[in-house]
Amino acid sequence: MGVPLDQDTKRGLTLIAPPLVYALALLAGPLLAVLVFSFWTQDYLTIDRTPTLANYAEALTDPIYRTIMGRSIAISGVVTIVTVILAFPVAYYVSFHVRPDRKSLWLFLITIPFWTSYLLRIFLWKVMLGFNGVINSALTGLGLIDAPLTFLLYNANAVVLTLSHAFAPFAILPIFVALEKIDRSLLEAARDLGETAVTTFLRVTLPLAMPGVIAALLIVFIPTVGDYVTPAEVGGPGGLMIANLIQAHFGGLNNAPMGATLAILAMGIVTIIALATVLIARKLSGGAR
């Protein structure tokens, strides 16, 4: 760079060098490999290394890819909205109604689902929702239904239910933090200026909690689009998502370049949606922050 480095800068660079190398090797490296692969094509058993956009053209035109990409975004979108809507009251309750000395206990309890592996939790949902599962047995036993319900498992609903449950803590925490930062005298000021409890919530609490809500939306949406364990286990044929297709291309279908292309496209779409969300949120809050 030609700029002489002072002592502090040198020390700083030395400090960050190992994690930087680590991050480059494990994050940038594979990403670059995927990107390169996406411009190659599979020629039966060998890979044709001539750069081409053929995969992209196919991925964007073939209805199967478009359907599944669309479904992934739709399922993730529903998961995100359901999770955030359910998480908000929990975060609100902990922030506003739990005694200050009990708050950390509550947050600790909220993380309990993480004590078991995610795979185990998925299987628990299968036990709950299955043909001979807890819900069906209970309802049949009570005589409320004659035959087990079949719309519970192996479809998109099951994916939404399982993912929403799994990602709830990720949504609760950022919203909780945003709510905690709200100066309580602002709420009293709104009441004092004539607002009811409900309009105070709408005019003060909610706008000030928006940064947390946006964070929660992104934190849930971004990883769920790429989730493949959940749809593979509880999704059935109608609940398949883009990650399942990517995995199939790298595995059974033996078409790594196409898998790479789909991965890059998924990343691109998620990036666009995330940026759009941030921009819209910024516009809505009027830039007055």
Partner: protein, 358 residues
């Protein structure tokens, strides 16, 4: 007063669990008054203000505002507005939106009329043209003004101020004190100020209620409160006072070190015979310098301590014949020397300035 008082508080009791925060408050506050609640922290003054605003429920007692019983009425339904200690400026809104926050429900006003009121309120607090500024970019003094404008734009019957000046530096505070008095005279709204600063209360208020441990110790106009505190505690809290043991015998009061005067000459809150205490303010007695003639009441002693303040000098004088030391404050007028420690001192005092406590 022919009208009923604007605010009538009767028998207010407030408990937080075992803690007795308000112990039987009875208070009348008149229309257009600048009233202060003064006391040390934890005396219940802020609790009382929040009871009037409707943020705290009372355990017992009634709150009547403008002739209406409002003990259990929510804050948004009360004719009061508050300036919070932290100012509580909404960070997500502009200055104009902050000031206009409470106007949203006024369906009788057009948007233009509201903008007019907002501009008027901002002009009143000296913030013309600030409407479009972001609230988070304001200084402490400006926030304070926005909070004032936001409350005054609604033309409340009562403006409640919770230690509004405590976050400002000394210069700004003194400036805002004068501003607030001017504003109060201009709008004619009843102001209730909570403060722990006795000087602030004296400067600003028509009347002051001094509170200790959840009770009102004395309600009086500023001058009365300063000159005739009704207890040693009030006297100690407001300014400085010298206390000397005294004995009442019949219609005479004897104060060792000062002398004996008729009981009728001093300000007495109790007139029973026996041991008691008298007090006087440092500025009500004078050191006599060389060449000044004795007056009727002169005590002698020597200078025990000198504290020099530039415009003033404080002297602690040990009175002859007692162990008592009294503090005097003397203006350093031109040509007057500052006495040194150990110098002989003659103290001229007046019986009328003596307050006899029970």
């Amino acid at each position: 007063m022919t009208d009923a008082p604007l605010i009538r508080l009767r028998g207010l009791q407030k408990y937080y669990g075992d803690y007795h925060a308000l112990r039987g408050i009875d208070l009348d506050i008149e229309r257009g008054e600048f009233f202060s609640l003064l006391g040390p922290s934890g005396c219940g003054k802020t609790t009382l203000l929040r009871v009037i605003a409707g943020f705290e429920d009372v355990s017992e007692g009634t709150v009547v505002l403008a002739g209406e019983e409002m003990t259990r009425v929510a804050p948004n339904k009360r004719p009061t507005n508050m300036v919070f200690q932290s100012y509580a400026i909404f960070p997500h809104l502009s200055v104009g939106q902050n000031v206009g926050f409470g106007l949203r429900k006024r369906r009788d006003l057009t948007a233009d009329a509201k903008d007019g009121l907002i501009a008027e309120a901002l002009a009143m607090v000296g913030l013309d043209g600030y409407a479009d500024r972001a609230a988070h970019a304001l200084s402490g003094g400006q926030r304070q003004r926005v909070a004032l404008a936001r409350a005054l734009v609604l033309k409340p019957k009562v403006l409640l101020l919770d230690e509004p000046l405590s976050a400002l530096d000394k210069k700004m505070r003194e400036h805002m004190q004068v501003e607030l008095i001017r504003l109060q005279r201009q709008v004619g709204i009843t102001f209730i100020l909570v403060t722990h600063d006795q000087e602030e209360a004296l400067v600003m208020s028509d009347r002051i209620a001094v509170m200790f441990e959840g009770g009102v110790a004395q309600i009086a106009e500023a001058e009365d409160l300063y000159r005739r505190p009704n207890s040693r505690r009030v006297a100690e809290f407001i300014g400085t006072m010298n206390f000397l043991p005294a004995t009442v015998t019949g219609d005479r009061v004897s104060v060792p070190g000062l002398g004996e005067v008729p009981l009728a000459a001093v300000q007495a809150t109790a007139t029973t015979d026996g041991e008691t205490v008298v007090g006087f303010r440092p500025e009500t007695a004078t050191l006599l310098f060389d060449g000044q003639a004795d007056t009727d009441h002169v005590a002698s002693g020597h200078v025990a301590e000198v504290v020099y303040y530039g415009d003033m000098t404080y002297y602690d004088v040990a009175l002859s014949g007692t162990e008592a030391t009294v503090r005097l404050s003397m203006r350093n007028v031109f040509g007057r020397p500052v006495l040194e420690i150990g110098a002989a001192a003659r103290v001229a005092w007046s019986p009328g300035a003596l307050v006899l406590f029970r």
